[in-house]
């Protein structure tokens, strides 16, 4: 049987990601990677997952979301609390198992928030999602600034605006989480990327994914074909929220202190920039843009004074490259070998 074009493309995508990971691992073990760059490996994984998942909402389902960092913070804090709880209450000592379980907890909580936001908003037509997700990102950050969590024996205690709670403090209001176990590792981050790619690419190339893209391309026609638009917009949005939550948990467990202010509006916009620069709807582009633009400031440290200048130039070049019709069609032809588009003629409405 002839393999489908999309299947071949997917195999190539996974292959390149795996090869890149092996190269990075070899560089780390041979000591040829700088310490600061090594410290960037987990954040790179996190931002790749953030960008790919946001692309599922923006590029594949065609809805603008401005609060993706909100889901990341929900995932980060629930993941951090979950990790502490898993260790002291359930006695899960294995770090990798604890990390994976915490990421699942983070993903689950973010998904719940995704459902809560999606149910009222995605039934409406128009760009309400952008407004509501923007507000969500800000609200969740402000709420987290006032929340205190502690582990008192086997009890998880929560208080609002009151730092005096018994037990070991896990999350300390505006100061965020402290004394976090740094259990996040690059290989687990890499597996999360693979998992995200697996989820998103397989979803796109299935019945549900086609329905999601149909609602993006033409909502009225999709409804006339019997497609429940709200259901499929929800599916994309909640899946993306869950993935962002998992990335958030990984991120949270990578630093000894994490404050809610880390997940502000700028972070949402940064991830959106990765998506736009990589090409809206282009999963591949998101990976490259997220990885490049996360390492770039690190690599540019050598240029010291010219750092921001070079950064800006690279941004512009990437933008030109991904949006230039010639380069795009060149890529299309290289990757998809599409037939040349025939001009649309005839009467217009």
């Amino acid at each position: 049987m002839k393999l489908k074009k999309s299947t071949i493309n997917n195999i190539i995508s996974y292959g390149i990601v795996i090869v890149t990971f092996i190269i990075c691992q070899m560089m780390i073990s041979s000591g040829s990677m700088t310490r600061s760059l090594k410290g960037q490996m987990v954040p790179i994984c996190v931002y790749i997952v953030m960008a790919v998942s946001l692309n599922l909402v923006v590029g594949i389902s065609g809805e603008l979301s401005l609060g993706h960092a909100g889901f990341m913070s929900v995932g980060a804090f629930s993941g951090i609390i979950g990790a502490a709880w898993l260790r002291s209450v359930l006695g899960v000592e294995n770090e990798i198992l604890r990390l994976v379980l915490s990421m699942i907890i983070g993903g689950a909580f973010a998904a719940i928030f995704g459902v809560l936001i999606g149910i009222p908003v995605l039934r409406l037509r128009g760009d309400y999602l952008a407004i509501v997700t923007l507000a969500f990102g800000e609200i969740i950050r402000n709420v987290l600034n006032c929340l205190y969590f502690s582990l008192d024996g086997n009890h998880l205690r929560i208080s609002f605006n009151n730092p005096n709670i018994p037990g070991t403090i896990l999350v300390n209001g505006p100061n965020g989480a402290k004394d976090v176990d740094k259990i996040a590792t690059f290989p687990v981050g890499f597996v999360l990327i693979l998992f995200t790619l697996f989820m998103v690419l397989n979803l796109i190339n299935s019945r549900s994914g086609r329905a999601i893209m149909a609602t993006r391309d033409n909502r009225i026609a999709a409804e006339a074909m019997g497609i429940n638009v709200t259901k499929y917009k929800m599916m994309a949005f909640v899946t993306a929220a869950a993935l962002a939550g998992m990335a958030g948990a990984l991120y949270g467990l990578n630093f000894s202190t994490v404050a809610a202010s880390k997940f502000k509006f700028d972070t949402s916009i940064l991830v959106l920039v990765f998506v736009v620069l990589g090409g809206i709807g282009n999963i591949w582009g998101s990976i490259i843009a997220a990885a490049l633009l996360t390492v770039l400031p690190e690599l540019l440290r050598a240029f010291a004074d010219y750092r921001m200048l070079v950064y800006a130039i690279v941004l512009i070049l990437v933008m030109l490259a991904t949006n230039n019709p010639f380069i795009r069609s060149l890529f299309d032809r290289l990757i998809h070998r599409r037939k040349p588009a025939t001009q649309r003629g005839g009467a217009s409405e």
Partner: protein, 287 residues
């Protein structure tokens, strides 16, 4: 009863075309009609875009809806497909009242349509457009899709074969992997018909299917519309300005002017009807 009718219909309207006998299939107007619209109407801010619209379409009938621009023809389609909720009247599909239903439910009941201003899923391939039409006949869910369970492979293969078979109605199999938005105009119109057919309708609504087609393409379209009716045994209602097409294939014609039906009948009756002639001549004078 309604669930049974639905199941029965799904069995009746085969995906695999029945052998075409080339004779007009038996009409059973005595049993429940496919469509029954009674006193249908809608107002847009005081303007009655459609008013007291009554129409019955029998199984396997080809009906035409004509009238000057702005007469309310597309609005009738939007009412039947529940894009607009009627402010007056009832719509029965196979004897089932559609009050309170939405577009998705109307489609599941058996109404499929094309659009006057083409609405394809431009960024998807031709085949994927047809697969969207087949969406509700494929049953595997998100989980099977992501984890590639056996249901996925089996049904994807079926869906692929069905899509190609439907595309072959219009000899469009070769275009299956082109981007829908890149097709020539006539092919886009044909793809819309294929996509609508894929939802297994019992009533197919075509909004100006020949618009922008050349006479040769129009002639082919006429043959194809009859072929579709014969093979799938469905009723077809079409809006069209090309009188050769309407008079050539419609067994019943309904003329709309200012939102009201001014005449109903066969092609000969309509052509001889003074009110209709006046409506069309009057329109010419204005234009």
């Amino acid at each position: 009863m309604t669930e049974n009718t639905r199941k029965k219909r799904m069995l009746d309207t085969r995906m695999v075309p029945a052998p075409s006998h080339g004779i007009i299939p038996e009409r059973d107007l005595n049993s429940t009609p496919v469509l029954e619209a009674r006193h249908l109407g809608i107002e847009f801010g005081g303007l009655k875009a459609v008013d007291d619209f009554n129409l019955i379409i029998g199984k396997t009938e080809i009906a035409g809806l004509i009238g000057p621009n702005g007469a309310g023809k597309t609005t009738v389609f939007n009412l039947l497909t529940k894009v607009y909720q009627p402010t007056m009247g009832t719509i029965m599909i196979n004897g089932r009242d559609t009050a309170g239903m939405n577009t998705v439910q109307a489609n599941k009941l058996g109404i499929a349509r094309t659009f006057q201003n083409i609405r394809l899923f431009d960024n998807m391939t031709v085949e994927d457009n047809v697969r969207i039409g087949l969406h509700n006949q494929v049953k595997y869910g998100m989980f099977s899709g992501i984890f590639r369970l056996p249901a996925y492979w089996k049904q994807e293969k079926q869906q692929h074969e069905q899509a190609l078979e439907l595309l072959s109605l219009f000899d469009m199999q070769d275009m299956a992997s082109s981007r829908a938005g890149s097709l020539p105009y006539g092919a886009q119109r044909r793809l819309e018909i294929v996509r609508a057919l894929a939802t297994k309708p019992c009533l197919l609504l075509l909004d100006e299917p020949a618009a922008g087609m050349n006479p040769h393409e129009t002639e082919e379209l006429m043959r194809n519309i009859i072929k579709i009716r014969d093979r799938f045994q469905i009723a077809i209602m079409l809006i069209e300005h090309d009188m050769n097409l309407v008079m050539g294939i419609c067994e019943g014609i309904c003329v709309l002017n200012y939102g009201r039906i001014i005449a109903k009948g066969t092609a000969d009756e309509i052509q001889a009807n003074p009110t209709v002639i006046e409506a069309y001549l009057g329109k010419k004078k204005e234009g």
